[in-house]
Subunit: 350 residues, 4 copies
């Protein structure tokens, strides 16, 4: 077995979609069959969302996307006003993006490690594995600890995950963001809200448990997932035309789809999401939400049928093509940032 | 198009694993290859968890399992002391199990509806579709409303989802449980804790948003996902030997795996989960947690390598065989209920 | 690394579906959702084929099914007159079934070998791997050589694969079948035709290449895939009502479906296959035939829509349940063997 | 329902990889994780095969690739001497490529047709469906009939599929190829052999059955799959360094891999395939060959371990990137055509 240093030698590098104009390639795929045609249609719908200046665009992230090299795609999307809000799993935002903003990196695993045959050895070396990618667990523990520090400085009351993640952005602003591209930091600067509806289910969970334990009977930071839902619904009410750009399924997909119903429950007749794209490897057979079709979501009154497209592909292949298409079409140049964080702060409950 | 009543004519019926002794069938599968052999080994590990009287068994549920007819399997597992805690997505617990406890049912969809070609019609009729299964949305709205009633009666402070779900059990106890088999109600009676780490991401979220909205500036119920994590970790600390029986992946899988690390952060050297079984259709290729191998989890120090088994199968086929095997082996007769809810109430923070 | 003998220590054992009555279990699955419901319907259609005494049943086999422990299922199906013809990949018939009839076995691979990390070592030891199963390559070479011996004794002219496989059965009859259950031998005795439309693509291919090479300019055995197609079509013409029981997709699925069109081309208006069941893990997304739906096959005029069912499952799990269901329903007791080999010999071209 | 003419209005258009230089995009993918990294490595290995002037490159095609819009990719690969032999399913070569060479087209199906809900209507209109693509069955019957005409003009003896496909190229040369890009015709002109080991399992099968039927007792064309195997093995013996570029699995994958063993059986110590790339959506779980890893193939002594890469992706997305990469790297400019048909004619047996 190699030493830790040798195993963590080659960092993941984030792809830059601004460099290759994929528009002709993707347009050609529209005349083909199967996933290529689906991908081209998804790209066209994504461009359509960007072109529609009434549309608030919600990016949903599930899966290990940041560690996989897609970080800069999303940061560029924020910078180009192609994203107005983000709903994500905790790992993408805390363990991976914030982790890199603290100055750490993800590493390419040698082929043999993918087999799982060396996981006991990795355990000994305090190296965590995500399929073909490695993480220094000691560095990840620093990330955990930093979330505790942030929690300790917040008011002892229920916060939405969005409020907490905004505080993470403020922390980076104060102590320095140690990477050129950070979703948390870029979203902080541009007032783009980020929601993580299962916020304890990541590195921040460890910091929060430690925080709550240390506080004992004193008021402590709680992460109120209902508040998240309330806030995201406010955005739907304020900006009825919406589009979902979803990578993977899981909680982010369901959470973002559900705000149509939540708005209705609060007495606002909000339209279904007008645009919806999902990139996933999950399939429809097991009835789980992650692979459920966007047509099915329309039976629930959540997604409109006119502009929806599933793309069955692993994200690292499809996202650079679809987001690259929307970027190079250039319609984002007519958009301005919605700065939804500003909208949320006053209406926040609690 | 048929009328609503005609579409909602044939209810889903929950399978009863006590009726067929599958032990010889599953034992024979151990001598085969591929999924049959994996399934047999998973069944053997499940039986081993049940036999190990030191082992606290955590059942993790993701996917539409209750609507799919697996409810009685889990209720029987609770009754036989084969489950000591549950971590689930919200849909299984609230939209599906609690929904049925309120007297409603899920219905078999006609073949043509699976195509998605009739979802706009279903929308008109207020029928929600889960692949091949139908739900009366009007009934589901009653379920949403009931969670608001429950929230309105709780103290205005952060609660763990476990506390809230226990209150749902108490509600059923008071107003009557209208089905013979309910996970929420059975768990309530036997003091089995149920955690839903992304609790707003289900029918309860609608009730909670309405509750918080109605409360305005008054103290309100918050659902603190950090408290969930804190509580589940306490169970690991109190009962270090643990086994995970996981159906699907997602937040429940990650959340339950993570308590090993959380215990460590709170200063307790807890062992990795000693047993782990996962039934899933997700695969390893996209690096997402749902399909990540249990070997990979061992690199994170979460799952031990000696007794772990992935079974790549849709749950409705594999669960009756595996849980049926453990049931008919009968080692649960030597177990007593842990009644972990009793353990949690005093240590609960907040 | 272990020695060859240690690696090849635990043989695969073939499951015996006659031992557990799965009818109540499968009937219960009909009231569930997802794959369980599909499986129950597939079992019901299979039973219906068996009940329909006009129906000729064609079993299609793709994937490593015999090495996986399903051999006895198919042998029992032949013995019970539940199968009237077989269309298969070569590996199942020659490398696996005939191989076992020569007295050899398949072996269970230790977990670590599945990773592929030891394949170079296996190569050194002349052990071939099929995922989690091992084969002694020296024994497989004997199987190759035996097919050459059989070819050498045949007339030097084009043969259908069926004729050749029948000669393999005769070889076993003469030299002794060294296993209790053999598809090739049982089919020989009961005059059930077996077709392998890509016959060179297996162990027999090696024997045939050696045979043709040795013959030089002399007349030699050719395997005429057109003759296979012609013969199978004759069966459809002679017995218009047909059912397909397909495991996996590939050439066997397509070949058997196509005979409806071939009959039409020969001037016989044959009905579409009346019953069709397919068990597969392939999905529809890539447009390949293996995962194409049976509905799609109806657009080609090959499969009727009334009784068709896809089951998305790995075969080792689904086949014992579906075939076990048909066996224990017992309607095969009213059937007699069609002995289609007798029908074919006179009409054979060439 | 629309009329046939309206349904067959928008033809599939074949992608042109020469137009977009994807080298920077694919190179960037090498620094990512998951499928992007695998794809980049597969592209690099493909370029390496092309650079290695000793290497004979065998292209293996399974799945509906030509109807899906990939035809021009393969024709360009032949033109650039990036392909020395082809092993394919029959559908790609006969029903799709030769069909288009006769002047027919494939058509884009409207979204609703993909559901399968309209297949009975399509049947009425004599329109065949491949997932999201449509074919005029009347035109396909012309293709069937043309293969009969070709068979009728051949000598009544066993032919390899390669000989027959070469005759199809000659037919196009004589009667005119009605499309700018045809694999069959381009391969004919450049003496690139095409093998279809299950040749009856396609449109040609219908023509051959009709031919054999019409011939009655007279000598007739037989398609000898053993001869195919013999011929392909001769190429391996003549040119020991080989690389496999495989799209999908099935018979073509197995057939091409097996020639290493066949060469050995004929007394020639041929090295394993030095390079191997496979693009597939099949997975390893069911033990079927299509999804079996290239590492597993090395246990069989068929594929070397140094330069092998699986890419889990639907072909329409991955092939333009991988073949586009190899094209734009430009190393094919140093290659000359092997014209293997010339090599084969004299050594052909029988």
């Amino acid at each position: 077995m190699l030493k830790k240093q040798e195993l963590l030698a080659t960092p993941i590098e984030h792809i830059d979609i601004t460099k290759t104009n994929v528009v002709p390639l993707v347009d050609a795929m529209a005349g083909m069959a199967f996933s290529a045609r689906d991908l081209a249609r998804a790209a066209e719908i994504t461009d359509r969302m960007v072109r529609d200046q009434d549309c608030g665009i919600i990016l949903c992230l599930a899966g290990s996307l940041i560690s996989a090299g897609l970080k800069k795609v999303f940061v560029d999307a924020i910078r180009c006003n192609m994203v107005d809000a983000i709903v994500s799993t905790g790992a993408n935002i805390v363990d991976q993006d914030f982790f890199e903003a603290l100055g750490y990196k993800h590493y390419i695993a040698a082929e043999a490690l993918k087999s799982g045959m060396h996981d006991a050895d990795l355990r000994e070396l305090a190296i965590d594995r995500i399929y073909d990618t490695l993480i220094d667990e000691d560095e990840l523990r620093v990330c955990d600890d930093t979330t505790k520090i942030i929690a300790d400085e917040l008011e002892g009351r229920p916060h939405s995950s969005r409020e907490f993640i905004r505080a993470m952005g403020a922390y980076l602003d104060k102590h320095g963001c140690k990477t050129a591209d950070s979703i948390v930091y870029e979203a902080y600067k541009r007032e783009v809200p980020i929601f993580v509806p299962a916020f304890s289910d990541c590195s921040a969970g460890f910091g929060l448990v430690a925080h709550q334990h240390a506080r004992g009977d004193q008021p402590k930071v709680a992460i109120d997932s209902a508040k998240d839902f309330y806030e995201l619904t406010q955005l739907k009410i304020a900006n009825p035309t919406t589009g979902l750009f979803m990578i993977g399924g899981g909680v982010p997909k369901n959470f973002a789809q559900d705000i149509v119903v939540a708005a209705d429950i609060l007495g606002h007749e909000a339209p279904m999401h007008k645009y919806a794209v999902q990139i996933t490897v999950a399939d429809v057979r097991d009835g789980a939400l992650s692979g459920s079709t966007l047509k099915e979501a329309s039976s629930w009154g959540k997604v409109d049928l006119a502009y929806e497209q599933m793309v069955y592909s692993e994200a690292t292949m499809a996202v650079p093509l679809i987001m690259g298409y929307a970027y190079h079409k250039g319609h984002w140049k007519q958009r301005t940032g919605r700065e939804w964080n500003k909208l949320l702060s006053p209406v926040t409950v609690g």
